[in-house]
Symmetry: C2
């Protein structure tokens, strides 16, 4: 499964494009010390191999009026795919959802959400989640801050 034959040029491409996906190919090539056509082909190969899965604009949810983030831990009973799959789709269809984690342990899902304020969070829990009978438990954890990091090295650490 790991297609991890990456040389230092590939790693440099991943680092550069994780920082700026719109870096012009000419500039990228210059940084790598290779010809532009080489850089172009390397990037395409990384996409073909599924190592680069896409290029996405990052949006500041706080600036869009949702400055409050939380993690909702859901326990679902019975935990059958008949109930779990529709719940997954439902959670992903909510505009408040940023990430859905399907986890092992006492809880079954963790939902990272962004909301306008505490009142909005309260309504979300009561009117969207707890109205569903398969959700037998919900625990809310407020997020003070979340910080992302680029993916760094291939495997061995």
């Amino acid at each position: 499964m790991h297609n991890a034959e990456l040389d230092s040029i590939d790693l440099a491409i991943l680092a550069a494009l994780q920082r700026d996906a719109r870096l012009p190919n000419k500039d990228l090539a210059e940084r790598l010390g290779v010809a532009p056509s080489t850089a172009l082909e390397r990037v395409r190969a990384l996409r073909r191999r599924g190592i680069i899965t896409g290029f996405r604009a990052s949006v500041d949810v706080a600036k869009l009026g949702r400055p409050l983030q939380a993690l909702l831990a859901l326990r679902v009973r019975p935990h059958t795919s008949q109930l779990v799959d529709p719940l997954r789709s439902f959670v992903l269809s909510l505009p408040e959802t940023i990430t859905l984690f399907h986890v092992a342990g006492a809880e079954d899902f963790l939902v990272h959400v962004a909301v306008a304020d505490a009142e909005h969070l309260h309504r979300l829990c009561l009117e969207r989640f707890l109205v569903r009978p398969e959700i037998v438990h919900l625990q809310t954890t407020l997020i003070f801050k979340s910080e992302d990091q680029p993916v760094q090295r291939p495997s061995e650490m």
Copy 2:
């Protein structure tokens, strides 16, 4: 703080560029039904306003040899900035770290990590986290699957 005066064109730009940050400006303009120069200026304005924070390549960590993901819940005592700030920097410097959540509640941090295998996870917990005296508790939750979602609407829901 919320700069959220976004018309339907801005929202369409956010939707399009979250799906594909490299969508050619010409194509973007065509979708929006405006001139290329207009689309260009709108995107630049969204960046200036801090609504678009950047353009990033998405990388498949599993393909880089780290197919196993987990959430590590850390309790830190005493919870003073003198201890917390260096810990934050440390966690963000680990190549295994994807996201660091600073949270309210029984735990103080949640760390989303990607590792090669269970053995690697075990070593990470014992040799990187639990060796630090300020970490008084660590709970590991395996992630079966995580699904991201683009940011959708501005505020009211």
